[in-house]
Amino acid sequence: MKNVFETIFFTEILQGLGITLSHMFKKPVTYRYPFEATPIQDRFRGIQYIKTHADGRTKCVGCYLCQKVCPSECIHIETDCGPNGERLIRKYELDLSRCIYCGYCEEVCPVDAIHMGWEWNTVASDRSGYVINMKTLSMNYKDNLEGNWKNKHLKKKLVEGVQQ
């Protein structure tokens, strides 16, 4: 009986039309990338930053653990002995074109220096900018801290995560 009723009055079609109609009044769930930015979650793993002390010195001690743990071998470190017998980082390079954003470097860091940031856009017309050094990584920290993101959609609330 019900079947006959549905066949005669096309109720299923109307049901479908109803769902479509209801969505016309809802907010869209898709984003019109690249004209519109996608949201970033708190635990998103983007381009790394390295924390600095208050006086601007890097927190990194050059222990080579991130270089060792990195599965894609994108970190290259060179250290040396400074003039006063201190540990000196001659070179800290991170090749973003190789990085797989696994976050192992963040996990292994014994001094809480390297972190995964929220910035992710590395699109460029050539590869020269992909290898970033300690200076850029420290600047990334500042940008993450102050919320100077290139991607305008990164909300201020993420800044709190950086300060932790």
Partner: protein
């Protein structure tokens, strides 16, 4: 033999064996921290505690000898609890700065912490925090990390016998330090670094440069002095990061000296040349390897055609491998057809005693050589014999050396007096009755007597020969200076006297000279005639660096150092040992140069070390069937013939006796290019006694002029307690001093302010 049961395994060991060694026999590993098999038992760390069945007390395995029917348990719950606590107690004061500590990754304490499973220390952690000591140019001392195992103190005392460091204070205040907190008074051998289980004593040359897990390692042989120490070369990419001992391996038992441990930096030096240089018409031009070889070949051919093969000479340095020296000989004899093969070495004296025989000797005599400086590992062997084996040691040297502490008799004075003493000692050995009869009797009565002497000093060779003749059981050690001083002689470069080459240069007999690795200007036999080499038709020089001779050359080819090639060296015992290639600096080896020249002249010579070894085994009878990694060559004789008696008296006139001193962390050509060794002794220093310096009114670091018959030079002064009155000393292997010692080994000179 006694029977012991370790973890259920029964083993038979000699009585008085330590539990630790018995366990090793049984295949059981007991963790240790303060133990070193080369040192006396100490028992400081309590990590090796084991249970003995029916004994309520725990025993330290590294200090307790086994008894018959002993039953030992090395793994139990109680023991792991005890070991864990021992480590936890160490970690109270040990700062956990593993990320920045150079030892991180190869630290015994780190390994033990993982092994016993300490994740949290139950006690209040009070990490030490005192400043790091940088007073030693090679050794960084961070007493915070010290676990007071005493290994450094013991090795400095028992092996090196310098006692530079010791325990200071008592109880919880105990630290490792120098006497009265003064700067290190030390030989810079770095033995303490090699035994430190934590990062308390660090190598300042390697400090913070890399981490151990990044480094690759090859086992090779040190290429500096003629001791032939087995070393590990640690490298990453094409850079050598450190040279360290192969623990308890090789003839050196894992000991090394300052030169080997800290002087390797010349391999990475930025002063190394990478391009060949050809000089024509006063203009030098950088060319490729092949072009340089072409020029050399053309000139060699021209000289051979116009002036004959006898106008060509080949000079090799003792830095070359056996294979390279053999190839150079082949090139000269078979391809060029000349018999003019020269080196600083001669076949007058061949090695006899091995280092092991020196260690186990029961009477040692050292004739006129500062053996702890020139051949440090031979020096350690002498010390071992004198201290551990309590062999009577007699030393003859103008001025005290580091052997003073262990020598039962130290004869010093001015060089002439020392020479006279040595002569009467030799006469006493032969049976004469004089003041040395008592000492000579010790030598003649001993079962395994050893005499160490300087083979480069004719007068000393004569005395050594006299002793050997009078007492046939005496084994002599000619303390040759360079890594392959013995090997190049075996390859045919010792037959002609070095002075003949100087004469040939002076007379203009030689038109083309091939110099492989040698620096003519820095060798006292050749320094006077070296300038003559500049005007030759061809002066081909191969050297890793632009040495004084290389700068004079008209064809210069940069070549590899010992870390960049394979081959073998023959050390002062006559032991042939293989070296391994570690890095590649983009330059050719001497073997490649010789092979390329031979090819240009229409002959085929292999450059590969293995192929050359086959040829050597066939053509050099001494090396037929030799084991290339550790085989000892059996020489037909020790002294070639009756050494002519030379007048050993100091030449010239002057107030002071001038003699060639210890090399002071240098062994000549290579170590001069090491920036770290140069920091300590960068230029030749004039050593003078305290009294004489006071009389003349000169202070340390003053510049004074030394003037004698036919020489003059200006040097920095270093006041040394050990130098005898009326004597001054200068190192020999510098260009500035080679010009002085070409006049003789013992001279008289005046000091002009």
């Amino acid at each position: 033999m006694v029977t012991v049961k370790i973890d259920g395994k029964e083993v038979q060991v000699a009585p008085n064996t330590l539990i630790l060694d018995a366990a090793k026999e049984a295949g059981v590993t007991i963790p240790t921290l303060c133990h070193d098999s080369r040192l006396n038992p100490f028992g400081a760390c309590r990590v090796c505690l084991v249970e003995q069945v029916n004994n309520p007390k725990l025993q330290a395995a590294c200090t307790t000898p086994v008894t018959d029917k002993m039953e030992i348990i090395t793994r139990s719950e109680k023991l792991s609890r005890v070991r864990k606590t021992a480590i936890e107690l160490l970690l109270i004061n040990h700062p956990l700065d593993c990320p920045v500590c150079d030892k991180g990754g190869e630290c015994t304490l780190q390994d033990l912490t993982y092994e016993v499973g300490v994740t949290k220390v139950r006690f209040d952690a009070k990490p030490n925090d005192t400043p790091v000591d940088h007073t030693n140019p090679f050794i960084e001392r961070d007493i915070d990390r010290c676990v007071l195992c005493g290994r450094c103190v013991r090795i400095c005392d028992e092996v090196v016998n310098i006692q530079a460091i010791s325990f200071l204070n008592r109880g919880t205040d105990t630290i490792i330090g120098t006497s009265f907190e003064q700067p290190w008074n030390c030989e810079y051998c770095g033995q303490c670094i090699s035994v430190c289980p934590v990062g308390s004593l660090n190598n300042r040359i390697y400090l913070f440069k890399n981490r151990p897990w990044n480094l690759e390692r090859v086992k090779s042989v040190c290429g500096l002095c003629s001791c032939g120490c087995t070393v590990d070369i640690d490298y990453e990419g094409n850079e050598v990061f450190r040279m360290k001992e192969s623990p308890a391996e090789g003839i050196n038992h894992g000991y090394m000296c300052a030169k080997g441990r800290f002087g390797f930096e010349f391999i990475n030096s930025i002063k190394r040349q990478s391009e060949a240089v050809v000089k024509a018409g006063g203009e030098s031009k950088k060319v490729s390897f092949n072009e340089a070889v072409e020029v050399a070949v053309e000139k060699l051919r021209k000289v051979k055609d116009t002036a004959g093969a006898d106008a060509i000479a080949v000079v090799v340095s003792p830095r070359l491998t056996n294979e390279e020296a053999f190839l150079a000989g082949k090139l000269a004899k078979d391809v060029l057809g000349t018999s003019n093969l020269f080196s600083t070495e001669s076949e007058e004296v061949y090695p006899e005693a091995t280092l092991e025989e020196v260690e186990n000797s029961d009477c040692v005599t050292v004739l006129n050589i500062d053996v702890t400086e020139s051949n440090p590992i031979l020096g350690l062997a002498v010390r071992h014999a004198a201290r551990m084996g309590s062999a009577p040691l007699a030393v003859f040297y103008p001025g005290y050396t580091a052997l003073k502490r262990v020598a039962k008799k130290f004869v010093t004075g001015n060089p002439d007096e020392v020479r006279a003493s040595m002569e009467s000692y030799a006469a006493a050995v032969a049976g004469a009755s004089n003041e040395y009869s008592e000492w000579a009797a010790k030598l003649t009565k001993a079962e395994r007597p050893v005499v160490v002497f300087d083979p480069y000093n004719k007068a000393d060779v004569k005395i050594a020969q006299d002793i050997k003749k009078a007492c046939a059981k005496v084994k002599v050690v000619p303390a040759k200076s360079k890594n392959n001083s013995v090997g190049i002689v075996d390859m045919g470069f010792g037959a002609k006297c070095a002075t003949e080459f100087a004469k040939g240069l002076e007379s203009g007999k030689f038109k083309a000279v091939v110099v492989l690795g040698e620096n003519l200007s820095a060798r006292s036999v050749w320094t006077k005639s070296a300038s003559k080499a500049a005007g030759l038709e061809l002066l081909l020089v191969t050297d890793p660096f632009m040495s004084e001779t290389a700068a004079m050359s008209n064809v210069y080819i940069p070549v590899a150092t010992f870390a960049e090639k394979s081959g073998s060296f023959t050390n002062l015992e006559g032991r042939v040992q293989s070296i391994e290639k570690a890095v590649d600096k983009g330059v050719n080896t001497d073997a490649c140069v010789v092979s390329a020249i031979a090819k240009g002249l229409g002959a085929q010579l292999p450059a590969d070390a293995n192929a050359v070894r086959g040829m050597i085994e066939k053509e050099v009878p001494l090396y037929s069937g030799i084991n290339w990694d550790g085989g000892v060559v059996s020489y037909p004789y020790v002294f070639a013939g009756e050494v002519a008696a030379t007048d050993g008296k100091a030449k010239g006139k002057g107030r002071f006796f001038l003699y060639p001193a210890s090399l002071r962390l240098h062994s000549g050509s290579f170590t001069r290019w090491s920036p770290d060794l140069a920091k300590v002794y960068g230029e030749p220093m004039l050593e003078i006694g305290v009294e004489d310096a006071k009389e003349l009114g000169i202070k340390s670091k003053d510049r004074v002029k030394v003037k004698g018959e036919g020489f003059e030079g200006e040097f920095l002064v270093e006041i040394e307690k050990k130098v005898s009155k009326g004597c001054i000393a200068l190192p020999e292997d510098f260009v500035a001093t080679a010009g002085i010692f070409c006049n003789g080994k013992s001279l008289r000179a005046d000091i002009v302010k």
